[in-house]
């Protein structure tokens, strides 16, 4: 290994977003058309990687698969069972 340069006292400000934790998962949530845009899934996601987006005048949940770890909490809390579990393709 080489000697690296480090910051004084280990102080940092660089966001962790370079670490794409989506690579961890083996299953993932698929948001079906049943989604009513209630936003419950956006609240319970530990990664904060589901957001509501306007799609054709309706609000719909959209997953950022770069970070989704596949915990599937969103699916358990969706009031209309709009989230299905899918196998993550390698």
């Amino acid at each position: 290994m080489e000697k690296k340069s480090v910051t004084v006292g280990g102080i940092v400000a660089n966001p962790s977003k370079g670490n794409k934790t989506g690579a961890w998962r083996s299953v993932e949530p698929f948001i079906s058309d049943k989604c009513i845009g209630c936003g419950v899934c956006t609240q319970v996601c530990p990664e904060g990687c589901i957001v509501l987006q306007e799609k054709g005048g309706k609000k719909k949940a959209v997953v950022d698969y770069d970070y989704c770890k596949g915990c599937m909490i969103c699916a358990t809390q969706c009031p209309v069972k709009a989230i299905e579990k899918k196998e993550t393709k390698k």
């Binding site: 966001p15 962790s16 934790t21 996601c45 530990p46 957001v51 770890k69 915990c71 599937m72 909490i73």
Partner: protein, 284 residues
């Protein structure tokens, strides 16, 4: 939503602490300083050379999040920056046990700090060892069940009651089952001057042995069985946030691998304990 806590942090899938932190930061806004104890939250959020925190953050050691927060608050006061809020964040280890002295001292001195403990009922960061927040009968690596043991021998230390006894300006309990309740209580706490204590129930898939998707459902069950009391205590008065339906504790216990060794006598003991708690509350 989504940018209050940077993605790319390395919490386990389904981590309740991550849910809690997102909502704490959403409610607290940007004018805040975080004092974090050594914990899962610290490890998964602050690996050099990156950080998951978009707000000023400091981690010092395991047992002194409250003391560090007190120092920050005093400095902000001297700098004329009292508007900036100070939040101490620790797990149950860094609060109930090794962090208890510093927490008590911070409350005693009356620092204007919101102390938030996310309670996963063990020392999760070091691999699931028993803490004084561990439930009676729960398996942990240092309170395993066996032919000579039913698991952890003690009931949870009543930390919130201790904070009430010490006279904290605001004491509340919440749960990751009700994220908007977390936000409401954080907002409320930050509007009050003085030392505040917020305890958030955080079921941990790894430590309690359940599938990652069950985190929120299990947290809800804890409330419905009465095992996790949601309340606020302010100005000498306790307000119950959610009146539980008092489902039998067995409904909760059977969902988690940490209890799978428990037999009827132990489950009865747990039921008796929670019934006693609510009876006492009624007479308050």
């Amino acid at each position: 939503m989504g940018e209050e806590f940077y993605q790319g942090h390395t919490s386990c899938a389904g981590c309740p602490a991550a849910i809690a932190i997102r909502h704490i930061l959403q409610a607290a806004g940007k004018d805040v300083v975080i004092s974090n104890a050594t914990s899962c939250s610290e490890i998964f959020s602050s690996a050099y050379p990156n950080t998951a925190w978009p707000v000023p953050y400091i981690h010092v050691a395991f047992e002194c999040a409250a003391a560090v927060a007190g120092g920050i608050e005093a400095a902000l006061k001297k700098l004329g920056k009292e508007k900036t809020k100070v939040i101490a964040l620790a797990g149950d280890g860094g609060t109930y046990d090794i962090g208890l002295q510093a927490l008590s001292g911070m409350v005693d001195r009356g620092h204007d700090v919101l102390y938030i403990c996310y309670d996963n009922e063990c020392y999760a960061n070091t691999g699931i060892q028993r803490s004084s927040a561990t439930m009676f009968g729960a398996w942990t690596t240092t309170s395993p069940s066996g032919s000579k043991s039913v698991g952890n021998q003690t009931f949870k230390k009543p930390i919130a009651e201790m904070m009430i006894a010490q006279g904290a300006a605001y004491v509340a309990t919440s749960s990751i089952a009700y994220p908007m309740d977390i936000q409401a209580k954080v907002k409320k706490a930050l509007s009050i001057k003085g030392p505040k204590f917020l305890l958030i129930h955080a079921p941990c898939p790894l430590a309690w042995r359940f599938e990652s998707s069950q985190t929120v459902d299990i947290a809800k069950l804890a409330v419905e069985t009465g095992l996790w009391c949601m309340f606020e205590y302010e100005n000498g008065k306790r307000t119950i946030t959610i009146k539980p339906s008092m489902r039998p504790v067995e409904d909760y216990i059977k969902t988690q691998g940490r209890f799978k060794h428990l037999k009827a006598p132990e489950i009865a003991k747990i039921q008796e304990h929670v019934n006693g708690f609510w009876k006492k509350l009624k007479s308050e």
